[in-house]
Symmetry: C2
């Protein structure tokens, strides 16, 4: 199933692809205002409970590694981890770093209006490198 998996164009448009792994993508949301990654398992399933146990655990383990990077890089204090999929049904898990005083705090980020700030190329590479170091321990 993974072989013919095509990332939804909306997800591709909104993100930088950091990792294209065997079983999933790890994407970085292009808006740097809120530290936000998206994990997309390569599956046709649309609900997280339809994944194998192994993949469910891997996704949470990657979310933990993302949290480590976000805490180090952006001093985030809380993660928002969510599978919504009302608009883009391709299963994708939001992994968002939050802290008091951020652009949406304490509200959720979805549907909120806030500034659109772009990462620099160096920032994207830096986040990818940091996450890669953390992912290597999974």
């Amino acid at each position: 199933m993974a072989i013919d998996f095509i990332l939804h164009p909306q997800l591709a448009k909104d993100t930088h692809c950091l990792f294209d792994l065997n079983s999933l993508f790890v994407l970085l949301h292009k808006n740097a205002t809120i530290p936000w990654m998206i994990i997309v398992p390569k599956t046709k399933a649309t609900e997280i409970y339809n994944l194998t146990d192994e993949l469910q655990i891997s996704i949470n383990a990657i979310a933990e590694k993302i949290a480590t990077v976000f805490e180090y890089q952006f001093s985030t204090e809380k993660m928002n981890i969510a599978a919504i999929g009302n608009i883009v049904s391709q299963l994708h898990i939001h992994v968002i770093g939050r802290k008091p005083g951020d652009a949406c705090w304490p509200d959720v980020v979805w549907g909120a209006n806030y500034a659109n700030i772009k990462y620099t190329k160096e920032q994207v590479i830096n986040l990818k490198t940091q996450l890669e170091e953390n992912l290597s321990t999974i």
Copy 2:
């Protein structure tokens, strides 16, 4: 840790307690406008990835059973499964049944303004009974 676990008063206030199990609570949000349950693992951890693998899988398995009940009872078509915790830090996982045309569709439910409709006692008992039948297969 579970023995001295106290459900956060905000969660207790907003919900009907359907099940007080060994490792977690299953709660029904009192507002019947959107079918919405909340799973609260009995832990001091505030992030889902800090739970044991077994408990992470159990939570998703219960979410699947909730989905089955919501699909049967309310014809929901999509689940929104999320751990947010910006306001109430006690770890709780939202398990929400959605369908096109519901009061918030396609937006998320958090922060939205919509009618506050109460379940009848019979409806609460009915949902509990249906979920109990489904949970017994876990």
